[in-house]
Symmetry: C2
Subunit: 353 residues, 2 copies
C-alpha cells in the first residue's frame, strides 16, 4: 500500500493496521482478538439493536411470535473424532445456540463447502450423521446449498448450519438479565470436546479414549424453560471454553462472577491430558454443555429438572454472580486463594468447531 | 477400502462409488452432477415436504405468517471483480433467493470462514461492501459467526448468508405452479456475471470492461408481487445460467419450455467474450436477473412494472411454457431451427459465486 492509502485505510478501519495487518488464527479463536474483530469491525459497521444484544443468536418478531435465528460455520479438524464428527457437531451446535436464545429449535439450513477430492464415502458418512442428529434433536433440515472448491482451497468439508426456533412463551434470556445473586449451573464435565479433538489431531493416546461431549441440549432445556420462568442467562461454553463465555456474560451484565474450583467437574482423564498438553480446562471447548443462570431460590428446582435428562445427570452449581468486581471472573481455588480468570488473548486450540 | 467395506458402502450410498469415488468440482457446478448429489444423497436422506418443494429456499409457517428461509455459501474467486465483490454478492444472492420464494427479505445472518493471512484491509473492504448492500436492499444483518482456518485451507474468505423473509399475502410461488401458456420474462441481459468473473480471474481484457450484474432485486419484485397475484414461478438464474434454471423448472413442472433466440438479451461484449472463451451464454451465471413466469394476459402489466425499476429497464419476454415436450427446454434459433438446451453435465465455470 502507498502512504496515502494506508492513511485513508487507517482513518476508517477499526482494527489498527499497524498492529494487525493480516487476519491471524487467533482472530477466530473465541478470545480477545475475536472479540475485538466482532465488536470493532462487525458490530460497529452493521450496528442495529438486534445485533447489539450479543446473544448466540438474534431474537426477532414475526407476527405475534418471537423467533430465534442463529448461524454457525463448522471447520473442525479432523472431521471425524471420538464421540462425533463435523456432521452431528454442526446440527447440535446450532440447536444449542437456538436454545441459548430461550427458544425451541425447529428448522435448520445446511450449507456445504466441499474440497474437491473428498471421498464420496466420507461425505455420505457426514450426511448420515447430520440426519441422525437432526432426527434425535427433532429439527428439520429444510433448505441447503452445496459448493465445491478446488483441491487445496479447503479442508475436506466445511459446514454452515443456520437455525430458526420459536421462543418459549414467557421466557426471556439475555446476558443483560444476569443478576447479582444468580447461581450458575452446568450440566456436566468440562473440556471433553476440545481434548478429544486435539488428541485425535495430534495422534495422542490416553489411557481411556476421551470423547467429545457433542449433544443437542434442547430437550433438557425445554423442560427447564417450561417449568421455570426465572432463567436469566443460558450459554453454551464452546470456543474459548467456560472462561470465555463467563467473561462475555460478566462484561455484558457488568457484574462479577465467582467460580468455585472444587465444584468444577473435570474428568481425571481430561485433567491429565490438560496437564500433559499445557492447557487450562477452563479455556477448552465444550459442545454439549450449558451454563444456566437462575436465582438462588430457583436453583434446586432447575437442578432437579436438568438431572432428570440424559445429558444433565451430572448437573451441578459451579459459581455465582456478584455485585463486586463488575466485568471480572474470579476462581476460588481449592487451596483457598483467588485468581482472576481472564479472557484468553491468543489462540489456544484452532479449528475446534 | 477393503471389499466388505465397499460392498457395505455401495448398498447404502446413493451415489455410485465406482463412478464417483470422490467429489469433483462439477458436483458444485450447478449442472447434472450437482442435481444428482442433491437429489439422491441429500433429498433422499433429509426427506421432508418442505425440502421437496425444490425452491431456492423453504417456506415455513410460523404462527399465522409464512416465512421464507434460504441459505447460500459464497466461494467466488477472485473476491473482488468488476461490478462487485464477494460481500455484496453474498447479500444480494440471499436477498434474491428469498425473493424467489415470493417473500420480502428482512433479516440476514452472516458467517465468515477466513483464511489466515487475509489482509485486514481486504476484510474491511468486504465488510463495508456487505453493509452497503444490506442498506441498499433494506435488510438487517442480525447475527453472525467468524471462523479462521490455517493458511492453505481456504481461499481468502468464504461467506455464508442465510436469510429470512415474509411471504407477501396472496403470493404463492413454486416451480409446481408453472402452467402451459405462461410467458417467461427476464429483467435484462444475461451472462454478465460469469464473464466478468472469468475475465478477471484469467486476466483477460476486452474492449469494454464487462461488469457483474450483481444486484438485489427485492424492490423490483415487491412491486410485481403487490400488483399481481398471478405470478407462478420466480427464479434467479445464477450457477449454471438460464439453461440450468429453466431445465430445473421444466422438470419440476413436467412441462416444456421454448426460448426464442432472437429475444434473448446478450450484450455484444459478452457475446464476443463467450465466442473467444468457448462458452454458451445460456449456461453462464447471472447475479442480478430474475425469470418471472406469468400467464400471457398478465405479461404486459408485469413487464411495465419491472421496466419502471432501475434493474428492470431492459425487461423482455424470452420464452413460453408449453404442454408439449414435458421436461425439455428448446431454443428456436434465429435461423429458424430448434435445438434442445440440456442441463450441463460437467463444470463450465467453477467458483463463480
Amino acid at each position: 500500500m502507498n502512504k496515502e492509502k494506508v492513511l485513508n485505510f487507517e482513518l476508517n478501519c477499526p482494527i489498527p493496521i499497524n498492529q494487525y495487518e493480516r487476519v491471524l488464527l487467533a482472530h477466530g479463536g473465541g478470545g480477545k482478538l475475536t472479540n475485538q474483530l466482532i465488536e470493532k469491525m462487525f458490530f460497529q459497521t452493521f450496528d442495529n439493536e438486534l445485533l447489539r444484544k450479543e446473544h448466540d443468536g438474534a431474537v426477532i418478531n414475526i407476527g405475534d411470535k418471537k423467533i430465534a435465528f442463529s448461524t454457525d460455520s463448522f471447520v473442525v479438524n479432523p472431521i471425524f473424532f471420538p464421540g462425533g464428527d463435523i456432521g452431528d457437531l454442526a446440527v447440535n451446535g446450532t440447536v444449542n445456540d437456538i436454545v441459548c436464545c430461550g427458544a425451541k429449535p425447529l428448522y435448520i439450513s445446511l450449507a456445504f463447502i466441499i474440497e474437491e477430492g473428498l471421498l464420496m464415502e466420507e461425505l455420505w458418512r457426514v450426511v448420515q450423521s447430520i440426519n441422525k442428529a437432526a432426527e434425535k434433536a427433532g429439527v428439520k433440515i429444510v433448505t441447503g446449498d452445496t459448493k465445491v472448491v478446488d483441491k487445496g482451497k479447503g479442508d475436506k468439508i466445511y459446514i454452515n448450519t443456520t437455525g430458526i426456533g420459536e421462543v418459549y412463551p414467557g421466557v426471556n434470556i439475555s446476558p443483560a438479565n444476569c443478576m447479582a445473586g444468580d447461581v450458575i449451573i452446568i450440566n456436566g464435565k468440562i473440556a471433553d470436546h476440545g481434548i478429544a479433538i486435539i488428541s485425535k489431531r495430534e495422534g495422542l493416546a490416553f489411557e481411556t479414549e476421551i470423547k467429545s461431549d457433542t449433544a443437542a441440549l434442547n430437550k433438557m432445556m425445554e423442560d427447564v424453560y417450561k417449568n421455570s420462568k426465572e432463567v436469566h442467562v443460558v450459554r453454551d461454553p464452546t470456543r474459548g471454553g467456560l472462561a470465555s463465555s463467563l467473561n462475555e456474560i460478566s462484561k455484558s451484565a457488568n457484574l462479577g462472577i465467582t467460580l468455585f474450583e472444587e465444584d468444577l467437574p473435570v474428568s481425571e482423564d481430561v485433567k491429565g491430558a490438560c496437564e500433559l498438553l499445557g492447557f487450562d480446562p477452563l479455556y477448552v471447548a465444550n459442545e454439549g454443555k450449558m451454563l444456566v443462570f437462575v436465582p438462588e431460590n430457583e436453583a434446586e428446582k432447575v437442578l432437579e429438572i436438568m438431572k432428570s435428562n440424559e445429558y444433565g445427570k451430572e448437573s451441578t452449581i459451579i459459581g455465582k454472580v456478584t455485585k463486586n468486581d463488575p466485568g471480572i471472573v474470579k476462581l476460588k481455588t481449592t487451596i483457598g486463594s483467588t485468581r482472576i480468570v481472564d479472557m484468553i488473548s491468543g489462540e489456544q486450540l484452532p479449528r475446534i468447531c
